[in-house]
C-alpha cells in the first residue's frame, strides 16, 4: 500500500540493518557507502571520543577543586586542557550533527536514496578515523602530548618540545574529511531533492545543514593551510610566524580564527536546525516564520564568517579593526535572535507535548540565550579588556557549545533514536537524565562566569584562595553533569538492548523520514516520493 509513492509501514520490510551487501561482518559497515551506515559509524566513534574528552574535563575540574591541590603536574594539566579542547572541538562538536544526523537524515528528508557522492562519503569517514588516530598517536610519540591549547598559537607552538607537528597533521586530515562532507551535503541538497521538494519545502534541519556545509567548504581550507604552515615552520623554520625572523604571530591568529570562529557556526547551525524540527512537531503547530529561520541560517553563516577578529581585541590589532569586528559581532546576534523569537512564537498557543526531545530543545533555547547574551557582553570592546582570557569566556562558550550544540545534539538523539534504531527508550528515565544534566550543567558553568568576572584567568593551573568556593561548586557541578550523562546514555543503551519496537511515526512528524518504516529500508524509499506540502503541515 503506498501513498504518494511512500511506503506505509503496514507490512514488514527489511531494514538497512538486514541488507546483504558485498561484505560481511564489520566490513559490511566500514566499507559500506550507505549514508545511514556511515552516519552510524560516525555515531559510534563520536560517542567514544566524547567520553574520552568528558573524562579529561572531569580531571581538569578535579584538579581545580581546591587551591594547591596536587592531582597532577602543571605540564600534565596543560596537556589535558589542550586535549579536552582538541578532541571536543575537532573530533566531537564540529562533526557530530552534520556527519551523524546530516548523513542519516538529510537524504531522507529531501526524498533521496543516498547522498550525491556515496563513495566520497565513505572516504570522509576514513579520513575522519585516520585523523583521529593520528591525533591519538601524537600523544605517545615525539615529545609527548601537545600542550599549546587547542588554538596552537605561534610562536609557542613553534618552540614547545612536545609533538606539535603530528597533532596538527591529524587535525589537518580531519579538516579534509570535513570539507568533503560539506561538498557532499551541498551537492546533495542541490541535486537530489525529490520532485515537488522546493527550496521552501525543505525541512529547516536541511537548511541548517546546508548553510553549515558551505561554511565547512569555505572556512576549513584556511585552517588547513595554517596548520601546514605550523608544520613547515617546525621542520624548516621558514619564519612566517616567527617574530625572531620577521614573521608576525598576529597574522597566525588571524588565519586561525578565520576558520575557527566560523567553526562556532559549523557547531551551532546544525543544532539550530534540529531545534527547528523538534519544536513544531511537539507544539503541533506549523513553524512560525519559516523563511525567516531559513534565511537567518544563511545570514548567520555569512556574517559569522566576518567576525573572527573579536577573538583578538587585546592582541594588538588596529583599533579600527577592533571597532569593525565588534560592530559585526553585534550584528551576527540579530539572525540568532530571529531564530529564538520564531521558536518561542511557534510554541505560543501550540498544543505542547512535553516529551524528552522537547525538553532538550527548550533547554537549548534557554542555555543558548545565556551563551549568546554573555557573548555580546564580551563582544563590547571596553568590557572585553576586562574579560579577555578569563573564566567568563570559558563559561560563555560552554553555554554555547554544550548548552547549545550539546543539548541540540541530545535533542536530535532523542528525537530520531526510534527512527534510527527502531526501538523506543524510556521517557521517564530520559526526563530524569535531562533534569540532572540541566542542573549539573548550570552548577558547573555558571560559577565560571562569576569567577571570570572576578578576574580568574583561564587555563591556570592553580588559583588564590578567594576563588575557592566557586571552583568547588563548579567541580561538584561536573559530577552532577556526568551523572546525568551516564543516566541518559544508560537509558539509550537499555532501549537498544530491550526497548519496545518503535512505531514508524511515534511523534507524529510531517517530514519524510517519519513516512517510511523504522528503521528505514536500504534505499529509504521504494519509489521516490512526490512532495505536495510543506514540512510542518500537521493534519
Amino acid at each position: 500500500m503506498t501513498k504518494n509513492g511512500v511506503l506505509e509501514g503496514t507490512h514488514p520490510i527489511a531494514s538497512f540493518y538486514q541488507h546483504q551487501g558485498k561484505y560481511r561482518g564489520i566490513f559490511a559497515w566500514i566499507l559500506s557507502t550507505d549514508h545511514k551506515r556511515i552516519g552510524l559509524l560516525y555515531f559510534s566513534l563520536i560517542l567514544l571520543f566524547f567520553s574520552v574528552a568528558v573524562f579529561f574535563g572531569f580531571l581538569m575540574r578535579l584538579k581545580l577543586i581546591a587551591p594547591g591541590f596536587n592531582l597532577m603536574k602543571p605540564q600534565m594539566y596543560n596537556s589535558i586542557f589542550t586535549l579536552h579542547g582538541i578532541i571536543m572541538i575537532f573530533l566531537v562538536v564540529i562533526p557530530a550533527i552534520p556527519t551523524i544526523f546530516g548523513n542519516f537524515f538529510l537524504p531522507i528528508q529531501i526524498g533521496a536514496r543516498d547522498v550525491a557522492f556515496p563513495r566520497i562519503n565513505l572516504l570522509s569517514w576514513w579520513l575522519y578515523i585516520s585523523g583521529a588516530t593520528i591525533v591519538f598517536l601524537s600523544l605517545f610519540t615525539g615529545g609527548g602530548p601537545i600542550d599549546t591549547g587547542w588554538t596552537f598559537y605561534a610562536p609557542y607552538s613553534l618552540r614547545t618540545t612536545v609533538n606539535v607537528p603530528l597533532a596538527v597533521f591529524g587535525v589537518f586530515v580531519l579538516g579534509m574529511s570535513s570539507i568533503l562532507t560539506g561538498v557532499n551535503l551541498v551537492t546533495t541538497t542541490h541535486r537530489l531533492r525529490a520532485p515537488g521538494m522546493t527550496w521552501f519545502r525543505l525541512p529547516l534541519f536541511v537548511w541548517g545543514i546546508y548553510a553549515t556545509a558551505w561554511v565547512q567548504i569555505l572556512a576549513t581550507p584556511v585552517i588547513g593551510i595554517t596548520l601546514v604552515l605550523i608544520m613547515i615552520e617546525r621542520y624548516f623554520g621558514v619564519g612566517v610566524f616567527d617574530p625572531a625572523k620577521g614573521g608576525d604571530p598576529i597574522l597566525y591568529q588571524h588565519l586561525f580564527w578565520i576558520y575557527s570562529h566560523p567553526a562556532v557556526y559549523i557547531i551551532i547551525l546544525p543544532a539550530m536546525g534540529v531545534i527547528s524540527e523538534v519544536i513544531p512537531v511537539f507544539a503541533r503547530k506549523r513553524i512560525f516564520g519559516y523563511k525567516a529561520i531559513a534565511f537567518s541560517s544563511i545570514a548567520i553563516a555569512s556574517v559569522g564568517s566576518l567576525v573572527w577578529g573579536h577573538h583578538m581585541f587585546v592582541s594588538g590589532q588596529s583599533d579600527l579593526a577592533n571597532l569593525i569586528f565588534s560592530l559585526l559581532t553585534f550584528l551576527v546576534a540579530v539572525p540568532s535572535a530571529v531564530k529564538v523569537f520564531n521558536w518561542v512564537a511557534t510554541l505560543y498557543k501550540g498544543s505542547i507535548e512535553l516529551k524528552p526531545p522537547l525538553l532538550f530543545a527548550l533547554t537549548f533555547i534557554f542555555l543558548f540565550s545565556i551563551g549568546g547574551l554573555t557573548g555580546l557582553i564580551q563582544g563590547a570592546l571596553a568590557v572585553n579588556m576586562h574579560l579577555h582570557d578569563t573564566y567568563w569566556v570559558v563559561g560563555h562558550f560552554h553555554y554555547i557549545i554544550f548548552g547549545g550544540m550539546g543539548f541540540g545534539f541530545l535533542a536530535a538523539i532523542h528525537y530520531w533514536f526510534p527512527k534510527m534504531f527502531g526501538k523506543m527508550y524510556n521517557w521517564k528515565r530520559a526526563a530524569w537524565g535531562w533534569l540532572i544534566l540541566f542542573i549539573g550543567f548550570n552548577v558547573l558553568y555558571f560559577p565560571m562566569l562569576i569567577l571570570g568576572w572576578e578576574g580568574m584567568p583561564r587555563r591556570y593551573y592553580d588559583y588564590p584562595p578567594q576563588f575557592h568556593t566557586l571552583h568547588l561548586i563548579s567541580t561538584i557541578g561536573s559530577w552532577i553533569l556526568i551523572a546525568g550523562l551516564i543516566l541518559i546514555f544508560y537509558n539509550l543503551f537499555q532501549a537498544l538492548r530491550k526497548g519496545p519496537r518503535a512505531e514508524d511515526n511515534p511523534w507524529g512528524g510531517a517530514t519524510l523520514e517519519w513516512q517510511i518504516p523504522s528503521p528505514p529500508p536500504t534505499e529509504n524509499f521504494e519509489n521516490i516520493p512526490t512532495v505536495e506540502k510543506g514540512p510542518y503541515e500537521f493534519q
Binding site: 557507502t33 550507505d34 536514496r113 543516498d114 550525491a116 557522492f117 556515496p118 566520497i120 570539507i179 568533503l180 560539506g182 561538498v183 557532499n184 551541498v186 551537492t187 542541490h190 541535486r191 537530489l192 567548504i217 569555505l218 572556512a219 576549513t220 581550507p221 584556511v222 588547513g224 593551510i225 595554517t226 601546514v228 604552515l229 613547515i232 624548516f236 623554520g237 621558514v238 619564519g239 612566517v240 625572523k245 620577521g246 614573521g247 608576525d248 597574522l251 588571524h254 588565519l255 578565520i258 536500504t522 534505499e523
Partner: protein, 198 residues
C-alpha cells in the same frame, strides 16, 4: 544499489572542491600581501635574485600543458581515443618537465645558501627572510599540487587505456582537467608575485 550518473552533480562537487583549494592558497596569498605591504623594499630586492628566464619557461610549460589537457578532453568527446591519450601523455610529460625545472631552480638557490633557516639567509634583512620563506612555502605547496595532479592524470591514463573513460563517460577526465587548470592558474598568480613585481 543502483548507480546513477549525474553530470551536473559531479561538476558542482568538483567546483566546490576547487573553491576550497583556492581558499587553501588564499591563506598564503594573504600572508604574502601583508608581508609585502610591510617590507616593500626587501621584497623588491629579493625578487631580483629569482631566475626570471626559468620562471618564464615554466609558465610557458604549464600553459601549454593546460592546452594539451583541454585538447585531450575535446578529443575524447569527439571519440578520438588515441589522440586523447596522446594529449594526456603530453600533459603529464609537461607536468614532469615543470617539476624538473623547479628542481633545478631550487637546487641553484640552495647551493647559494639561500634556503629556510640557512645562516646566509638569516644574515639578511627580515623582509628577505620572509620573501624566501614564502617563496619556498608557496612554490613548494604548488609543486606538491602539480605532483598530485600528475598522479591523478596517470590514473586517468590507465582508465583511458582500459576503455573505462570513453566518449560516453568522460566526467572523471573533465574533472581532473579542472583540477589541472586550477593548479595552472595558481602558478599564473605565483609567477608575477615572485618573479616579476620588483
Amino acid at each position: 544499489m543502483e548507480t546513477h550518473q549525474d553530470y551536473t552533480g559531479s561538476k558542482i562537487g568538483m567546483w566546490l572542491f576547487l573553491l576550497s583549494e583556492i581558499l587553501l592558497f588564499g591563506g598564503l596569498f594573504l600572508l604574502y600581501s601583508s608581508y609585502r605591504y610591510k617590507n616593500p623594499l626587501d621584497f623588491h630586492l629579493a625578487a631580483w635574485e629569482l631566475n626570471r628566464v626559468l620562471g618564464t619557461i615554466n609558465t610557458l610549460i604549464l600553459i601549454t600543458s593546460s592546452l594539451f589537457m583541454a585538447l585531450s578532453i575535446f578529443s575524447i568527446q569527439k571519440g578520438n581515443r588515441k589522440l586523447s591519450i596522446l594529449f594526456l601523455l603530453g600533459t603529464i610529460f609537461l607536468g614532469l618537465l615543470f617539476l624538473s625545472v623547479k628542481y633545478v631552480e631550487w637546487t641553484a638557490k640552495i647551493e647559494h645558501g639561500l634556503y629556510p633557516n640557512s645562516p646566509r639567509l638569516l644574515g639578511r634583512s627580515k623582509g628577505e627572510v620572509l620573501f624566501f620563506g614564502l617563496y619556498y612555502s608557496m612554490t613548494g605547496l604548488h609543486g606538491l599540487h602539480v605532483l598530485v595532479g600528475i598522479s591523478i592524470l596517470s590514473v586517468m591514463l590507465v582508465l583511458m587505456i582500459k576503455g573505462k573513460i570513453n566518449q560516453n563517460r568522460f566526467v572523471p577526465l573533465e574533472n581532473s582537467g579542472l583540477y589541472w587548470h586550477l593548479v595552472d592558474i595558481i602558478w599564473i598568480f605565483l609567477f608575477p608575485l615572485f618573479y616579476l613585481i620588483t
